[in-house]
Subunit: 277 residues, 4 copies
Amino acid sequence: VIELSDLKLVYSSDLADNVIKAGNFDLTNNFMLIGGPCAVETEKQILDIAKQVKKSGANILRGGAYKPRTSPYSFAGLGLEGLKYLQEAGEAVTLPTVTEVMDTRDIETVCQYCDIMQIGTRNAHNYSLLREAGRQDKPVILKRGMNSTIEEWLCSVEYLLKEGKKNVILCERGIRTTETYTRNTLDLSAVCVVKKMTKIPVIVDISHATGRKDIMEDLCLASVMAGCDGLMLEVHTNPNKALCDGKQSLRPNEYSNIVFKVKETRKFYCVLHKSAV
Amino acid sequence: VIELSDLKLVYSSDLADNVIKAGNFDLTNNFMLIGGPCAVETEKQILDIAKQVKKSGANILRGGAYKPRTSPYSFAGLGLEGLKYLQEAGEAVTLPTVTEVMDTRDIETVCQYCDIMQIGTRNAHNYSLLREAGRQDKPVILKRGMNSTIEEWLCSVEYLLKEGKKNVILCERGIRTTETYTRNTLDLSAVCVVKKMTKIPVIVDISHATGRKDIMEDLCLASVMAGCDGLMLEVHTNPNKALCDGKQSLRPNEYSNIVFKVKETRKFYCVLHKSAV
Amino acid sequence: VIELSDLKLVYSSDLADNVIKAGNFDLTNNFMLIGGPCAVETEKQILDIAKQVKKSGANILRGGAYKPRTSPYSFAGLGLEGLKYLQEAGEAVTLPTVTEVMDTRDIETVCQYCDIMQIGTRNAHNYSLLREAGRQDKPVILKRGMNSTIEEWLCSVEYLLKEGKKNVILCERGIRTTETYTRNTLDLSAVCVVKKMTKIPVIVDISHATGRKDIMEDLCLASVMAGCDGLMLEVHTNPNKALCDGKQSLRPNEYSNIVFKVKETRKFYCVLHKSAV
Amino acid sequence: VIELSDLKLVYSSDLADNVIKAGNFDLTNNFMLIGGPCAVETEKQILDIAKQVKKSGANILRGGAYKPRTSPYSFAGLGLEGLKYLQEAGEAVTLPTVTEVMDTRDIETVCQYCDIMQIGTRNAHNYSLLREAGRQDKPVILKRGMNSTIEEWLCSVEYLLKEGKKNVILCERGIRTTETYTRNTLDLSAVCVVKKMTKIPVIVDISHATGRKDIMEDLCLASVMAGCDGLMLEVHTNPNKALCDGKQSLRPNEYSNIVFKVKETRKFYCVLHKSAV
């Protein structure tokens, strides 16, 4: 049993004044709209998508270079080459970039090419990785493990904070349940609970939480009203040919429609709660 | 394995034109705001609460007379006496009433005193009860089993529809997961999925889904934006003395504040989606 | 939260001296070997199977007359007719019989025709049914709910005991998890824990726990060594034509082979633990 | 969705003739009895325990040097120092040793000091670690992720096999469910299923699966009859002072009693199935 009183850092009020930046972009005072493909596939692919998500209103570009795949025979990402393409695309459209890191040995390289590190659901309790990521300057998006309790998730954040890190963002991405009509079960209560317990921003990865395009818009709007600080969505210019997660990837126009409604809803949320947009 | 093609009734487009009424109150064209105590405790208690929830904007009064309790030593409801008090309170404030029925032998009595039957999570797969409830005139609110998949939930509805029933409402109330910071895990994706699959109204029981008052408002607003057709919340004038579920019961003023924001959010939802309020 | 100290009856040492009988057959001092089809289909079918399971070494005959089926279009049992065929078959081969009861209104009839009532997984928290079953003379086999914790299961037993009942048998039948290679996840730890906590006999329904014939023998033997008091297995003379659960039904010769090894293992268990067979 | 036909290596019949060795000890033709503390704490502690488990009949010594702990403030192991103490203790009692590795950067060191690498439940889907471990000579014990399906577990093994590795052992250690009376839910069906699907040996970690000493013996014997190839148990000479998992650690005499009954049961298993001990 964990003594919650031990988790001093995650509950610290100091985090309230914390401003998280990715390059010049202020992640704390902007509602984060992260879009991009599951994986960087080619130089052209990521550049094309980058242009589209920028036009659609995204303010952060995502793209995987190191992909954790259940089967060893699935496409596992382009590695360093993918990082370079992602960096170029981000610079071309002036969007900060985020990519997953899976191995302590890759952290330095990832930080060199990318603005935000992501620690994925399968590595949410990879404590070596958390410790090493906690020692870097770049912000970290920490996804919830697919079977993590909120308590365990907060313990994983504490690993990051313990290394002196402050620029951390949490990402709910659905938990695994016995339900089969959705890829995972989006747990919006967790977003609300974590927002009550800590001052760390919490975003939602709707694509992995649902795995179904037909309900993504509704759940994006629901997440905004639950009080989340940003949304991550997978976007691809050619979902049918995507090397990974094509079925759940939005086309740019679909993404654009969602972003429009998300922005309207965020405005309404701020008015209703009398807070700054 | 269930052949989904067998579930003809639940997917029928006929249900779209269906108007569900509780007495004179039209449940289809009004956003349902169900409030009231977990259990009817005394004549005075339910009348007091009825007045308060009416004033707060509720349009349906809830109150349990037959309570399914995990322990045989917990308060199990007043039975027939409770039904009578609930009916009186409903009439006094002109609100239709809803109460749970657990036994085929009680269905007739419940229908005599109450406007809407509720089939609870523990009886979501009690097929004898479903069959018998399906033969009655009064509307049924069918809660999702705490461990039911969406598919199994729809199969349970089909049991009701197969008896010729049309006035059915579904109620998401959280599923059981390994998370311990919330009583259950609210599954808003299920609301969205069910709304895509069938024309049956879907409401959300936020009290049982969360078990925590501090996140109820946020999740009510999230549920509205997810597209639900109503919200059920437990309200008590003296939560500390409640015989059941006191900890998760809202005080009338707390309920009132939530109802206000829910109505604002519902208006915004309808404007955004260009639909009638 | 349930006060476990409230569950006085289930932890009572009085149950230790309790002898449970089905007709003349002593269920306490014999390792229970329950075999038979999922559902009684015809007079001939149940008689044929009864002869076979008797020959194979079963000491109790099972057969469903009221079947809880997820889809309302699946075969739901022959009802009263099924009870009569089951009774005839049991008498023909001199085996006590067990059948599921799902509705308070059927309890009297079931007790008239059958030696042991079974309360199934879907009704494990149907408290009306538990209360009514608790008032009858015939023994009850209470299955664990597919999502019940051990604590909730013991609370359900307490409902039976509270009515004055003593002849109760518990049945572990697997719990639902995210694993898909087995129908449910057999929880043998629960058998061990319950045996430590109470003096009530615990049997295991291997057919529903696994849903796979290829691993049934191994898990039967494992269950014996875990200390269970009996095993329930579905047997059918023509699994391919079974109206229900054919895929997981053993052929009589397969059942016979398992019973032989179960008996050998039970003998070994008793020798190792220096207890009476 | 994983194409199971892709997992060629894990289903290969070549693995049947595979002899796995840890030093001179043949893990394939001996029932593995792994005992030792959760964590190596001091030079004396591991040596004392090593002597005791050897005397009790263990044939492999376990001890953690790198400990994955949910809270960053829990004891995380002695690291390299722990590896050295473990090696010394193993040599002193001539037992091969097993220890967990968590970081790709530690693999070489672990292989230098230890006979068998263990990949723990939190890293069961750490694909970088699997790939790197797959390139080493030393055998690997791969635990099942606490939320892994059997399919995902086999995919993780395939990662190891794909690197050319053949000396792999699987370890069931319970999955997380909603049950709270046991630490995890031991899934013996998974042992049986995996044994049917692949020729890879499967052992069971009873300590983590149950977390309760009172049921460990029964579940060890059940696991033997389910057909497992070995058992892992935590043993400590002073459980109350253990820095990790004390509550579930067996005292040497308790371990000794279990090993005796395990050996008797294994003999019975082999006689019943007419196989070599």
